[in-house]
Symmetry: C2
Subunit: 199 residues, 2 copies
């Protein structure tokens, strides 16, 4: 009922309020991570009612994605990965992520990544990778039990480096390969990290 | 004879001259790359005699490493890789580079890398990776002929990402694994990129 009230008939508010919420969200998420941050605490920092946060941004997850300037929800991007056969999960994951990189979202993603590298939002990107993205695939690859975090951080190492060398350093020939060729070349690496015997 | 003259009995000059040479070198290398930049052109930009450049920095290669703030000469770091059996080249390369990362050189390397990511010295880091490092190993892995550049850029993608996730984003558990464990986990990726069938 409360939600319906806040969503009905309200006109867009001032961008100042929206920015204050985003700023508070960035600070909270960067310091405490995604799971341990509440919408209530962000609202308090921004000096607004929690209902207003939901009005502007929807869920806590959507607020996080807005705060980190990630324009695509990983749950949607990775929807096709969740039900992939486990032996194809590396290729499906890579194709989904490269698909976002090759879309108009690229600039926003690179900006978020650059901020993390220069220290402005390391905490945000770390939370994004470990708490949001990994939720989507971690449960599929936790074999032996407890190995999912290591597998995921290895995957992140290849993905982060692929983004850096292809789109930022623009190393040739990697920078100009067709996306599907990149998937073909790198997918076996991800598959080994996700499901291989790591010794 | 000229060289002997410039190196004999000369006292260290002002740091202003040294900095002018370094600044000119950074601009030249970033714009034209390593191979197509001459010590003479750098000296001209800095308004000094080329002999003075050699006096301060030694070879063009050493000047490049100083310009990019790379504190360890890749030729020395990779000396043990050049004569490794080809089936061990991935592991040897990774162990050599991780060894530098785990040394006091780390901060300088991370600084150079951050500068590249934020656009200040993309050209420098690209030259370092493609013209300097790859010279050390490219000829070992150019099979089939012409594949060395692709193999090298794939290796760079994993190495750049490993540096980012372990030392900058500090993703766990990758960030705190013993170096030798990292080598064990990632070496097969590099070996496939260097000598595997890339299809």
């Amino acid at each position: 009922m409360t939600r319906a009230t806040t969503r009905t008939g309200r006109r867009p508010g001032s961008s100042g309020t929206r920015d204050a919420i985003l700023g508070a969200a960035r600070s909270r998420f960067a310091e405490h991570g995604f799971d341990r941050t509440s919408v209530r605490s962000i609202a308090a920092d921004a000096g607004v009612d929690p209902a207003l946060v939901h009005h502007y941004f929807g869920t806590k997850r959507a607020l996080f994605l807005a705060a980190i300037a990630i324009p695509a929800d990983p749950a949607m991007v990775l929807a096709g990965v969740a039900d992939a056969p486990v032996e194809e999960i590396g290729e499906r994951f890579l194709r989904a992520v490269v698909g976002v990189w090759e879309s108009p979202h690229r600039e926003g993603l690179l900006a978020a990544f650059r901020s993390a590298i220069t220290g402005e939002s390391v905490g945000l990107v770390r939370s994004f990778l470990t708490e949001v993205v990994l939720t989507e695939i971690g449960h599929r690859v936790d074999d032996p039990a407890g190995s999912a975090a290591l597998r995921a951080s290895l995957v992140a190492s290849q993905m982060a480096g692929l983004m850096v060398t292809r789109y930022i350093l623009e190393l040739e020939p990697l920078a100009t390969l067709p996306p599907e060729r990149v998937v073909h070349l790198v997918a076996p690496t991800l598959q080994r990290y996700l499901t291989g015997d790591l010794g």
